[in-house]
Symmetry: C2
Subunit: 201 residues, 2 copies
DNA sequence: TTGATACGGTATCGACTCGAAACCATTATT
DNA sequence: AATAATGGTTTCGAGTCGATACCGTATCAA
């Protein structure tokens, strides 16, 4: 009988709590709750398909009603901007405002974490990352959750040329940096389905 | 520039969120918030020095006022019992009630996690544990947080004989199982900051 | 064209969180 | 004995959060 998974859970939870507390501290100046800070961090990393209230709610594990409330607050504080999608006028799109951007750059909510990992070798970190990533994938496929990944590794990702990419699902061309952002349309490659892109790297 | 620490943070956060959502689900029947479930889980794992509101607040990262509220609720629901310490009459001690115990056994809030780690080899889990543990230690010493560990590895831990142990700080003899519970008096053994991570069992 | 229905988002409600600060006993210090 | 420190509780106000109802837009079926 191995208790390691149990211990791992405890650690993830504990570190999660601490980061939450860190987010709380980072947001204290601006009167923000941890979840607001988290929302801003997400927004800074989300790609063009994923900057909607819906995707955000999914990512943060909230209902759309709750999300709407938080966004209202962030808007009032002037940290985000909302604008309408011109293709589907039901859809609201979000972006960081200048001061939202500034807040993330100055507050550095993730700095404490960077510090905390300073003594650990890159190799051990990579190993931990791979184990946790696998855990996350399993967890999500167990629970029907949205995957939320970046293009690399996504079934819809297509490479047109050395520096040109495309999302096969949405049909848009993507810039290099954009392929590294978080996308809620992400789907794991492989899994025995026929893929039309066989040019992998 | 390595982005792995950043990714690790993202994963820990995301998994933390998911466990939080899991706790939410587990507590839904009993009308409990995630933090309540977490409190019960903690209580089930805390040793005799750590079953107080104060230790709990420290562990969960809440203020004592907030903790007091949550404990009130758990008491109303009959999931915990409070009793006075007879040495220091300011101190309140906590224990799971029968139904609190039952709740944990039936709800199995940690089961989903156990499942999610099923495909990962014990060895990789242990490595991840060791990396995260080190991160936690560094984080806590950066931020003056209480360490919260089990006897094994604690500076105050003394082994009297093959199966008899003692806490040098409090002077009590400890049973074998008790040495494996969470203690908020925990202090890292070696005085140096470098920790050896070969303490796996 | 005209419904019916689905969907993205907002508004409202009530129970609860959470930090801050005031407060109350009890213990420690002097 | 007076004072300070300590463990917990209470109170307050802004905010979270799920549930539900609701609004406008898009989609689908006749």
């Amino acid at each position: 009988m191995d208790k390691s998974p149990q211990v791992l859970l405890e650690l993830v939870e504990r570190l999660g709590n601490l980061m939450r507390a860190e987010f709380r501290r980072a947001g204290a100046d601006e009167q923000l709750q941890p979840v607001h800070v988290h929302a801003l961090v997400y927004l800074a990393r989300a790609n063009r398909y994923s900057n909607t209230p819906q995707a955000m709610a999914e990512y943060l594990g909230l209902t759309k009603g709750t999300m709407s409330q938080s966004l209202l607050l962030l808007d009032r504080r002037g940290l985000i901007e909302r604008y309408q999608d011109d293709l589907d006028r039901r859809v609201v799109r979000l972006r960081l405002s200048a001061s939202g951007d500034q807040f993330l750059n100055e507050g550095q909510p993730q700095l404490a974490w960077q510090q905390a990992t300073r003594n650990i070798s890159p190799n051990r970190i990579r190993n931990a990352v791979s184990a946790l990533r696998e855990t996350l994938t399993t967890f999500q496929s167990d629970n029907e959750g949205q995957p939320f990944g970046a293009c690399h590794g996504c079934r819809h990702f297509e490479r047109l040329s050395a520096r040109a990419y495309r999302c096969g699902l949405m049909g848009d061309r993507l810039s290099g940096p954009e392929t590294r952002r978080i996308c809620w349309l992400y789907e794991e490659k492989g899994s025995g389905t026929e893929t039309d892109d066989d040019d992998e790297e």
